[in-house]
Symmetry: C2
C-alpha cells in the first residue's frame, strides 16, 4: 500500500525550486489521479521553498490529467512576507503543464475560532457509517479507497441502490489507511471526497474538477476527520461543490470549493 | 469618471500574449486598487487569447498591491480544450509580480439552473437600501464607490453607527455608475463588495484579500445585481467570506470565496 508520505515524495534538483516526483497509481479514481492528491504534491514542493511551515490556501486548475509515473514540479516564490509566503507551482509531465496552483503558506495553530457562521456537520458515529469500497462496480476501480478509509453517512448513501436523497449533501468520516494522522497537506485529499455530490442528485457519471480552492484553517487533532460536501448549483453542464472538514475536537480545519464538469439530464 | 471599459483597457504588444494597461486610480479603496478590478484586468487579457468567449472561473493570489499607473499583463494558455480554455495570467509592475491568476474561459448562457441548493438572497427594494458613500470617514476615501453604485440592506448597515448586527451577512444592490450593464468580467467587481464582512461582526480595519476565487454561472440580465456576502469562520487572523450574486431575473450568476487577513480583538 502506498503511504501518503512516499506517494508524495519529492527529489529536489540542486538549488533550483524544481522537483522530480513519481505519481502513485493507487491515488486514483478509475484511471485518473485524484485532484486532491495532485495538489498535495504541489503543496509539498511549495513548503520546501517557503519560510512559513503550513499550507493555508491553495487554488488549482486541472488542465491535463497526468498519468501515474514520473512528473516534474516547478515552484516560483511570488512574495515572501512577514506572515505568509505566496507561491505558484506547476506539475508537468513530458513538458506539458497538467496542474497549476497558487499557494499561500502561513502558520496554523491548534486554537479555536473567534467566530463561526458555519453549521456544524451532522453525521452518525463512524462505526454506523458505510465504508466506500474500492470496487466502484462495473469494472470501475476507486484505488483511492484502498489508501483512504471513507465511511459515508447512510442518509446520503441511497445513490448506491438507486435511491439518491436529492438533498445535495453527502457527509463522511475519513482516515488515512496507512494509520498516519492528517496534516494540512494530506487534508487536500479529504477535501475532495468520493463520490461527486451529483450522485446524490441522481446524476450518473464522474464529474471532473476544473478548478479547486481550499483553505486550511487549523492544525488537525489526531484521529479521523468528518467532511460535509454540499452542492451549490448545477446548470450549464457545471456544478459547484463546497466541502467543510472538522477534526475530533469539532474544529473547522479545512474548507474547499470546486467547479466541476457534469453531464446534466 | 472612469468607465469600466476604459479603466480595464489593454494594448497588446504584437503577437505575444503580453499587454500594457494603465491601472485607474478611481477603482480603489483608500490607496489600494480593488481586488475584483485587478482580476477583471487579468480576465480581459485572458479573453483576448482564448477561443472561448466567457470568463467562467478565476482564482487570484494577491502578493503585492500595485499602484495606479502603468502595469503589464502576461498570459499563458495552459490548455485549449473543446469546451473550455484554461490559462494563467500575471499582472506585474516594475518587473515585480503583483497579482497572479488561474482562469477558465467557457461559454455562458441565459438559461436557468437545473438544480440549486443556494438560499435566495433576501433584501429590500433598491430604493429602500442605503447608498455607500465614497467618503469612508476619517479621511478614508473609497474611490470605488464613485464608479460603482452600491446600496446596502439597512439590516446590515448598523456597523456605520456602531451597532453591527453580528450576524455575518451583508447584502447589497450594485450598479456600474457609468450606466453600462454587468458582464461576466465586470461582475468580479461586484463579487468583492464593500465593506468586508468583518465590519458586521464589530471588527474595525480593512481586511486585505490573500486569495480570491470566483465562478461565473450565467450571462446576467440587464439591470442591477444583488450580492450577499457571508462570513464563514474567523480565527487565527484569517477570515473567509462567501459572495453570491443574482441578476434581475433572480438567477444565480456568480459566486466567490476569499480568504482575507483580519486583526481579531
Amino acid at each position: 500500500m502506498a503511504h501518503f508520505r512516499t506517494a508524495t515524495a519529492l527529489r529536489r534538483r540542486g538549488g533550483d525550486p524544481v522537483f522530480d516526483t513519481e505519481l502513485d497509481p493507487q491515488w486514483t479514481i478509475g484511471t485518473k489521479l485524484h485532484g486532491g492528491y495532485l495538489l498535495a504534491v504541489l503543496a509539498k514542493a511549495a513548503a520546501e521553498v517557503s519560510s512559513h511551515p503550513h499550507l493555508t490556501a491553495i487554488s488549482g486548475s486541472f488542465s491535463v490529467a497526468p498519468e501515474p509515473g514520473p512528473a516534474v514540479v516547478e515552484v516560483e516564490v511570488l512574495r515572501e512576507g512577514r506572515g505568509l509566503t505566496q507561491l505558484r507551482a506547476r506539475l508537468s509531465q513530458g513538458g506539458a503543464p497538467c496542474t497549476e496552483a497558487l499557494i499561500t503558506q502561513g502558520v496554523l495553530t491548534e486554537g479555536d475560532a473567534w467566530w463561526s457562521g458555519v453549521d456544524p456537520v451532522e453525521i452518525p458515529p463512524e462505526q454506523d457509517c458505510l465504508p466506500v469500497p474500492a470496487d466502484g462496480g462495473g469494472g470501475f476501480r476507486i484505488g483511492l479507497m484502498d489508501v483512504v478509509e471513507q465511511r459515508l453517512d447512510p442518509a446520503a448513501a441511497g445513490f448506491a441502490v438507486g435511491q439518491p436523497s436529492r438533498k445535495g449533501v453527502i457527509s463522511s468520516w475519513l482516515r488515512l489507511a496507512d494509520g498516519s494522522d492528517w496534516d494540512p497537506v494530506s487534508l487536500l485529499v479529504a477535501l475532495d471526497p468520493v463520490p461527486p455530490i451529483s450522485y446524490d442528485l441522481g446524476i450518473a457519471g464522474w464529474a471532473p474538477t476544473v478548478q479547486f480552492t481550499a483553505y486550511l484553517r487549523g492544525l488537525p487533532a489526531p484521529g479521523p476527520v468528518r467532511v460535509r460536501m454540499r452542492a451549490g448549483e448545477l446548470g450549464g453542464d457545471r456544478m459547484d461543490e463546497v466541502a467543510e472538514l472538522w477534526d475530533e475536537k469539532n474544529r473547522l480545519i479545512g474548507q474547499a470549493t470546486q467547479i466541476a464538469a457534469v453531464r446534466l439530464p
